[in-house]
Subunit: 206 residues, 2 copies
DNA sequence: CTCCTCCTCAACCCTTTGGTTGAGACGGAT
DNA sequence: ATCCGTCTCAACCAAAGGGTTGAGGAGGAG
């Protein structure tokens, strides 16, 4: 019995490519395509694919991570493999946490995609060695847990907002903003707003 | 006589998708595939395709813009269409300046790709309305021309460096850094280092 | 109830930044 | 020879940012 797979990617070209790729394989059958996370969730509800091959960026709607979480909550839950061009640490970690069975970059060979898919259908995990390394690194160096408010401040910080502007935006006083900033600096291990934005970008917090 | 096209994309999946797409079209014939800019330039030299369909990001080597410039310098010069996921203003402007006949986003329909390709083969330009708008906007609001030194300062600014750190890095005094910064702020039309980084990122200067 | 986290705010101090003016040196263009 | 753009630097001032201490209220967990 062939493995059934649902393709999720907002780029028609990529979907076409994947479909063409699996058409040459006897044991993989594409049972559906979705251009958004919402569509994917709805389709999976009916199609019950063995595996969902999902991009991380999905246009305007929900992203691949949220889609993965929703899919994994279904009964029966399909295996989800993330197939994307981006390889930032956070993305990978978030995807794994959400229940993804694998994380592939789009520059891998078609053969790898097919074999990964089979592995996932068997219930296995699919992580390229470099990916696996990042996962354990991510576990070892846990990303600081920022509170919701701190994240809001960080986001505004990224736009170049001054303390006064941040205060106005969040309906608090500058004193409060400064307090959040001090906590933020401490958690990110930096000593200036500029560096905070810089490291937040690097680590993917922003 | 069918239009000959060379596909350039570092993702095998995308190339497969495009190839599958054109296989259904009688008047378009894929004559080659390249996974890098260097490979594309070498192949075009021999194949003389009518059109080159090229991604902007091409892995580690030269990018799509440089590839476009090199291709347009060949005799006869193929038409070049940029097909990418990114739509930052600078990228588009740079691609057009380099001689691209079109700029498409990967989320367009397959039909659009085919028709755009034909248009380019006829010597025409292919710009989606929103793209065209950005181009004229880009012409109207010319990106500020920063000097080399100012760019270095801007780059360091992006890493969150303080004036002191920038000064050390560039082997000048803080006074000089401040002078550069004032010029930078004026050219970018901002009033703080944070905002400077923010708009530089938005406009693609950084 | 009490401990703890998070969010809020204030007063104080010192450092860094941003803005201004002015100026010397160098190289290329006219 | 002269102008112009670029890079360099200095001195000065006002504003913003960063660091500290302390503290009150709201809400959840034990």
């Amino acid at each position: 019995m062939a493995i059934t797979v649902l393709l999720v990617d907002d780029h028609p070209v990529v979907r076409t490519g994947l479909r063409a790729l699996f058409d040459n394989s006897d044991d993989v059958q594409v049972v559906g395509e979705a251009a958004s996370g919402e569509e994917a969730i709805a389709l999976a509800e009916h199609l019950h694919p063995d595996v969902v091959l999902c991009d991380l960026r999905l246009g305007d709607g929900i992203d691949g991570v949220e889609t993965t979480a929703a899919l994994r909550a279904q009964q029966p839950a399909p295996a989800v493999i993330i197939l994307t061009t981006f390889d930032r640490d956070v993305e990978i970690l978030r995807a794994i946490e959400a229940g993804a069975a694998g994380y592939l970059l789009k520059d891998v060979s078609p053969a790898t995609i097919v074999s990964s898919l089979k592995e996932a259908a068997r219930g296995g995990m699919v992580l390229a060695p470099e990916m696996a390394k990042r996962v354990v690194d991510g576990m070892r160096h846990p990303r600081p847990r920022l509170t919701e408010r701190e994240m809001e401040v960080l986001r505004l910080l990224g736009t170049g907002a001054s303390n006064r502007e941040i205060a106005r935006e969040l309906f608090v006083t500058e004193a409060t903003v400064k307090t959040h900033l001090v906590h933020l600096f401490s958690k990110l291990n930096v000593e200036s707003r500029a560096k905070a934005v810089s490291v937040a970008r690097e680590t993917g917090l922003l």
